[in-house]
Symmetry: C3
Subunit: 155 residues, 3 copies
Amino acid sequence: MSADLFAACDLLAQYGALVDAAKYDEWLELFSKRCSYYVKPRENHELGLPAGLIFCDSRAMLEDRILALRIASKYNLHNDRHIIGLPRIVANEPDGISIEAPFAVYQTEQEGDTRLFATGLYCDRLERSGDSFKISEKLVRIDSFAIQTLLATPL
Amino acid sequence: MSADLFAACDLLAQYGALVDAAKYDEWLELFSKRCSYYVKPRENHELGLPAGLIFCDSRAMLEDRILALRIASKYNLHNDRHIIGLPRIVANEPDGISIEAPFAVYQTEQEGDTRLFATGLYCDRLERSGDSFKISEKLVRIDSFAIQTLLATPL
Amino acid sequence: MSADLFAACDLLAQYGALVDAAKYDEWLELFSKRCSYYVKPRENHELGLPAGLIFCDSRAMLEDRILALRIASKYNLHNDRHIIGLPRIVANEPDGISIEAPFAVYQTEQEGDTRLFATGLYCDRLERSGDSFKISEKLVRIDSFAIQTLLATPL
């Protein structure tokens, strides 16, 4: 159990670091072959409403999003900084675990202003892969439906 | 020692998650039968002044505060998000440990604005309860005496 | 490996706590006899440009900076609050490890306003010292070249 929490902490640390370093290919490697990635406002989640801001229900969709980010999307250039809080394990099964972890993401714009971009809760399903984990489901429950600028880089 | 730090991390992760999910009854369960919960500005604490913003020196007072929050208090409706930093153990005794952990709390208002609500330091006395801990004393040392809106939900 | 990550977490927790409590002598003790401490904007670091905001390449320079902070420097009085995220180990050698950890620093001014001061990434080289570590190199890669007020207390 404590080894699982440890491996989950390690995965989350890598997750944040790879997005912040814009290493999106390595970031994709943290997901399993079959995976989903959703970004959904807390409000909709609590009301059982399906609409979200990002809905990738396969690895191919997630890869496509990264490709679009690189060659097609127009957005305010910025750097991300993820601060991810301590996770807790909410379910434990032979082939994986479910965890929750709070996060805050800051963005620094080209002019040098750093500001809070979003806070929320990661609700992740992690699949065992040897001694470590891969992400099979990631639900990013953001605290606000109101994203100030474009949601371009992954949360 | 490292098992203690581990259990402390787990308790803090639950603490933040339960407040943020507004699961106040489960949050109360993290405290021991005899407990205290104080919120005090750093300034007063450093000057040895007793005045604080919240002063609950029994479990009954803490339960009462949650009851008031649910049925009587008027306050700006919001969601909380706790980001709790890595804790350190500052005292170690047979029946428990004392820890410190920094925190930042964000609030998201009904209109969708997320802003920093408070930062500070948790100074906790944790009592052994089997393999885990219960909170017997919690001093929330907030960095500012100036709380922008009402202090309604627990820090 | 997991014992190393544990010891790194403990060191980071102390690092933040000691700066925030203004215990600068104890903070200095976290560094090894031969050490360096740089603060550099991310932009310059990525472009390979050498200029930084703080450049201490010996323990004596770091001690000098703390001395100046105490008796000579004029700056806006404030309290710091470090929220340091989960670290990851990026290199592992017999005599030490290299880690990265994201951070956010908040400052609370005398009037009681708390605001985000800086975000960034710690890139640390840690040297084994018995069961724990000492910092032999610390590169504070701040996300913005634009520091709003004076950079007085250590990041």
